[in-house]
Symmetry: C2
Subunit: 274 residues, 2 copies
């Protein structure tokens, strides 16, 4: 999906919402567990119910890989189901991959190629291995790299805030250097919402890039603080909620409740849409 | 596999060799391409031929994921094939995963649990997200985390050498901090062989940990320099070669040639075994 298409999608839906499909098989509602493929059945219901409210869907690969081959089939079916909804939503493989060049090429092929089983619009990438580990993800037309910069977890403090002798903290070095590898039309950054006060610092060095913001909801970040500090004239934010939406209810009404939660998130950001 | 078992395996085989199963389907010998599952067929032949010479096998997940669901089936079959050879080799999922705690738990379950499809002895992990992204991989008994420290690629220079105001370079901070999260009995570090001169610095801060060393062969690292600077009294090194062994020959003799190449690597390190 092109940047302008994404911006138009946000405007049309008046939504910044990305629904995280962290479809943990041990947490699914009982009513889907009799289906042949409970994870797919769950995802399909969540997608059908939330599509009017969500700009993006983000399956978290770990929750599929943890079910082995069967889990990857659930992911494949989910992406096939989303394939005729390509104009209505942006899709993100939350994969956090990254390896030497010839290997990153294979990961890019796995998740971004339109000839493979998945064909996502974007995928999350870890920056530790530097330029040649990131570049192979940038070569697919209209596909995006979403690079980890400032994550929403406690461990973010272990390395991401290390201040280099150049005065930059590690997450700032990542944001600055990565702009040599890709543009605001195919590069986003992951910036955790629990660090909302940092968004001002990030906008100073990445004024136009989209930010994918996890950590709202279950992880405790404030939606308003994120918007006040992170929004740009092109919106520039995709705000993720996973557990807070998809597991809000475990009854047979789970999908309807998920849609209500998604609508609530949009209501909280409605003031930012004129 | 326990640390003492691993050390004994190294002594018994007089080998430090890890064979990287980067089984790129576009590079397989023609003779396996008629098999129902060419990647598995290739891996099986490579394993049969090299098992006397190799201490470890390291399937690189990217080369399986790039074939979608089918590729994950090839990986599952490969690990099932290795399951009755558990005492004869150490297995590493080269996955370079890492995410917030509840997600890393799922990746750990995917690749380290003996109830899943794969049941590896170890997996490679990216350190960027810190402690809670690494810890879930340390809870499986006799299973190992192999944390990226100093990688073998050019992009390693982008962030890993950033010197913090505490005087430590980033890869040194990773090695020092991670020792609070796990012990030398379940934690190794990835240290690239193209950086052999760095091994002395690494041994100063990690004198006993095993190091997984990629970058020998196709990537140009020197085996002798690695051993001279990296060996400990418990050996403490697993030296990986992927393309240099598995793709050394494309004829019907490919597996025999792979075994010869593996034996050659062992010959180069034989002087280190009394």
């Amino acid at each position: 999906m092109e940047r302008t298409e994404l911006i138009n999608l946000i405007k049309r839906k008046k939504s910044l919402l990305c629904v995280g499909l962290d479809s943990d098989i041990t947490k699914l509602p009982a009513c889907v567990m009799t289906a042949e493929d409970p994870i797919f059945e769950f995802n399909r219901a969540i997608i059908d119910a939330t599509l009017p409210f969500a700009v993006a869907y983000k399956p978290n690969l770990a929750f599929y890989e943890s079910n082995g081959v069967k889990g990857m089939m659930s992911l494949q079916k989910t992406m096939a189901y989303l394939s005729d909804k390509r104009a209505e939503c942006f899709t993100i493989a939350d994969a956090k991959r990254g390896d030497i060049g010839n290997t990153s090429e294979q990961y890019a092929k796995a998740f971004l190629s339109n000839e493979g089983d998945f064909d996502f619009d974007a995928m999350t990438i870890a920056p530790y291995m530097g330029e040649d580990s990131v570049k192979p993800f940038t070569i697919y037309p209209n596909k995006w790299v979403i690079l980890l910069a400032l994550t929403s977890n406690k461990g973010a403090a272990d390395f991401q805030f290390i201040e280099g002798t150049n005065g930059q903290r590690l997450f700032e070095s990542v944001i600055i250097k990565a702009q040599q590898w890709a543009t605001e039309s195919n590069l986003m950054f992951v910036c955790g919402a629990t660090q909302a006060t940092m968004f001002k610092d990030i906008r100073r060095i990445a004024p136009k890039h989209f930010l994918l913001v996890p950590g709202v909801g279950a992880q405790g970040g404030s939606l308003e603080a994120v918007c006040d500090n992170g929004l740009t004239e092109d919106y520039g934010l995709l705000i993720n909620s996973s557990r807070g939406i998809i597991f809000a209810d475990k009854s047979a009404d789970f999908a309807k409740v998920a849609a209500d939660k998604a609508a609530e998130m949009n209501a909280q950001t409605s003031k930012y849409f004129k």
